[in-house]
Symmetry: C3
Subunit: 207 residues, 3 copies
Amino acid sequence: MHFSFINIIDILGTFSFAAAGAFAAMEKRLDPFGVLIISFVTAIGGGTIRDVLIGDLPVSWLSNISASVVIIIAAIAALFFGSYLKKLDRMLFLFDAMGLGLFTMIGIQKGIDHHLNIGICVTLGTITGCFGGVLRDVLLNNVPLIFKKEIYALASIVGGCIFFLLLNWHVEQSLAYVLGIILVFVIRVLAVQFNWSLPKFYEKKVR
Amino acid sequence: MHFSFINIIDILGTFSFAAAGAFAAMEKRLDPFGVLIISFVTAIGGGTIRDVLIGDLPVSWLSNISASVVIIIAAIAALFFGSYLKKLDRMLFLFDAMGLGLFTMIGIQKGIDHHLNIGICVTLGTITGCFGGVLRDVLLNNVPLIFKKEIYALASIVGGCIFFLLLNWHVEQSLAYVLGIILVFVIRVLAVQFNWSLPKFYEKKVR
Amino acid sequence: MHFSFINIIDILGTFSFAAAGAFAAMEKRLDPFGVLIISFVTAIGGGTIRDVLIGDLPVSWLSNISASVVIIIAAIAALFFGSYLKKLDRMLFLFDAMGLGLFTMIGIQKGIDHHLNIGICVTLGTITGCFGGVLRDVLLNNVPLIFKKEIYALASIVGGCIFFLLLNWHVEQSLAYVLGIILVFVIRVLAVQFNWSLPKFYEKKVR
């Protein structure tokens, strides 16, 4: 049951990242295969970097075709919904925030499986959550979202730390997972709101 | 004999990609060592990403010096021919299309050797063929050629699929290889021609 | 003793690259976590690419937390010193040149440990020294420093070749290391000076 729970958040995260990647690629008016490639890179980029760093090779999406199927479905869906939808920005942002939470927790779990230091686990979670988007932004010639004033990596890091606190307080792991995902999502969404009005406050607080 | 056949297309592909990389770098007025590095990245980038994803490490060009020799020769040749040649664009494009075909087939062969799914084999072929160029474009601050309207990844994908069809029809593997390479090359060249005059047709057809 | 000597130059190199990365990120007005991430990428990027290519996985900074501690200290130091310092450019450049020398030698040592060809050892040294900075520049949307007219990769390559010459002349390895580091640093610093006044001379000489 625990295994299938991880599988479900993996599929959801893959779908939301692929869709976010597809929308970003469509905004740049790429051709359909460019859209598909950006969807792939966004969805599996963070996890691929994580697996390469750990040495967990071949990377899972080579032997397990399911991620590719989800990504292709997401890209096609985005290509068709995209022509009717106008409010891409908001949707793109929410997909991205959801994926950030999901992938952060998957990356942390991988770190735990490999008996790594808690700080490194949180780093792996952040890489899994953030670096697919960084690759996407680099390929699309955007300034990576992660480096903007908005809290992005910080949401991932705080969510990861709270997850370990929850485990420490003997919260059941599946629950801690879900809480971690929601926490990252909420921090990310709130951060964008606060940042619009309070950029200086953020800078003072963090330093 | 089959082994040496793969070696020959490997050397030819390495040479043409390295030359294409060198010309692209020279167009951006990089210094000779920048040209050499871009030649390397263009020629071995796709294969390196493929080998890292598969876990086929250390990557072959670390232990087999021949690829490096070919790349250095190609870069030096490009540096000298380049000063006399004016029609770089056309040559750059033809080198690139040839390398695309050659590397696509090499990547597919690697996938077959690792008993991977046909779809994944085609993906590995596309990565091998396209991602050296993507790395080159990212490093040179160009919009990756692959994401432009012109058919690029699609040539690789179609060539790979036809290759598997040919194998299915019991065509001899070496012949299927050559046909696959030629097919990718022809699709790529024709696509640029058609795309100049028929961009909308392409978009309708693919979607 | 030899082992601890390598450790010391590793820490120094990590610190100077992380600080150089932090300053580059601060010049682009990234938020503090963006600065931290760029510090990480700059400091461990070259070594990480080297270890991935060799297949020396998991990469060392996942299991050995010390590099991460050094990087975090460097990033925080840069964030605080940065607000008082005005001459960032010069300091950034000197940090960078020092790191270039240190990491080049570390990369060459790794190649020797894996019994690789001398040319490949020098390449690994160059990758270790240069590609953290290339990743930093790509992420910050700068044209990579390495591709500019200034000698950068060449300093790394010449330093590496001289190091092997020194070993051949039976110079003690630790001394050859230090001389190699100093040589790369001096070439890099002098190159920038000469290049300011003699760009054409450089181009003639290298070709």
